[in-house]
Subunit: 230 residues, 2 copies
């Protein structure tokens, strides 16, 4: 009976997204079989003593030289179809990371090359394993997070302007937001973003106030919670 229980290996795949002109994803070209030469989502095996979240943090760090721990890493799903990997039973936890300013991509491990690709384009490409599904789910999740949480700030550098934040929303959703109204909206949601007191003119025009991420994690719901009482 106990022998019938599948023994599996675990991998963490990390869908690394950033916002430039469009929403882009970091992919690696596989340097060895299976799917040698194909594009894939960066990931790797869980190592002894690790849990899978730590694996994801490590992968993010290896691919981007970013401190994975400090960045937004959100679980997307767990992919466990028995035949998803030709090498045998390999289950994968998929995370999505939203990072600012694409840093230089760093090839390493079994990746012959890493590259940024617009997600539109990546979703039309053939990817290794079930990575097209994973990428699709991850992008869905990222869009949803923009709706509901303060995750958009993860796409901005540590200090950012309201306009830079607005451009994140505009890019991920496609469309334009009224700058004035957006400014009032986000500055009025308590704990969303906090002024640093500094300003910048890096976007041209009148100096813009710089902000950092606030403590709030979730945007206010559309059905407001009642006052706690019970």
């Amino acid at each position: 009976m106990r022998d019938l229980i599948p023994l599996v290996q675990l991998t963490a795949d990390v869908v690394i997204l950033t916002v430039r002109q469009e929403l882009e994803v970091l992919l690696v070209r596989r340097g060895k079989p299976p799917f040698e030469g194909m594009l894939a989502i960066p990931g790797g095996y869980m190592e002894p003593g690790e849990n899978l979240w730590q694996t994801a943090v490590r992968e993010l760090q290896e691919e981007t030289s970013l401190d994975g721990m400090a960045h937004h890493l959100e679980l997307v799903g767990i992919y466990t179809d028995p035949d998803r990997d030709p090498r045998g039973q390999v289950a994968s936890g998929a995370w999505v990371a939203m990072i600012p300013d694409p840093p230089v991509a760093r090839p390493g491990g079994d990746a012959a090359a890493t590259q940024w690709l617009p997600v539109e384009q990546a979703l039309e490409s053939a990817l290794a394993f079930d990575h097209r599904v994973i990428l699709h789910d991850a992008v869905e999740r990222a869009r949803r997070s923009l709706d509901q949480s303060t995750a958009a700030v993860s796409f901005c550098r540590k200090e950012f302007t309201v306009s830079e934040l607005r451009r994140v929303y505009e890019t991920v959703w496609g469309g334009k937001l009224d700058p004035g109204n957006f400014h009032r909206k986000v500055t009025r949601i308590e704990g969303f973003i906090e002024r640093t007191g500094r300003t910048t003119t890096r976007d041209g025009g009148r100096p813009a106030a710089l902000y950092t991420a606030g403590a709030r994690k979730w945007l206010p719901p559309s059905i407001p919670r009642p006052e706690m009482s019970a």
Copy 2:
């Protein structure tokens, strides 16, 4: 090198929640070691040919006699600490299910007994494995889903009244909502709930219109998406 990659067994744990007077969770008392005699979240091993979601569906079905497929099953997390199970490396995917009307709990498998417990009370109890953490995360997730998605209807039977839906929110959040305003709110969100044309007097008073769940999955965000264009 390849031998260093841990081989693990996979289990699916299903946190089954329902709303009665309070938010309650279905727990099983373990009938064999490890943690024999302790309360635990129902779950079981992934079987050959299954993926882990199917395992979760099967577990829900075994514990509640409900068609697991038809019910709301939401991934909560993946629990992979190397020492979370004394039997060895066992990783667990945790789901949360929100079901109506507690049906009769059905002991089966390695569960000597199953019982409903108020969540507050369960969170104060010692549970097997890391199940206190899992339960905590699952309840958080359920609360969040009420904010952001239409998941509240999963706590209602197939046909329900607006008041029954309101009581779900009131119970999960603790507090009172204005009946009139709540009624207008949910009936005006398109696709949230749909009238059946039938009525009921099961809650007393004037007959109440019966509704079913609509097609909408997510409630409107507080920062409205711009019109798509790009």
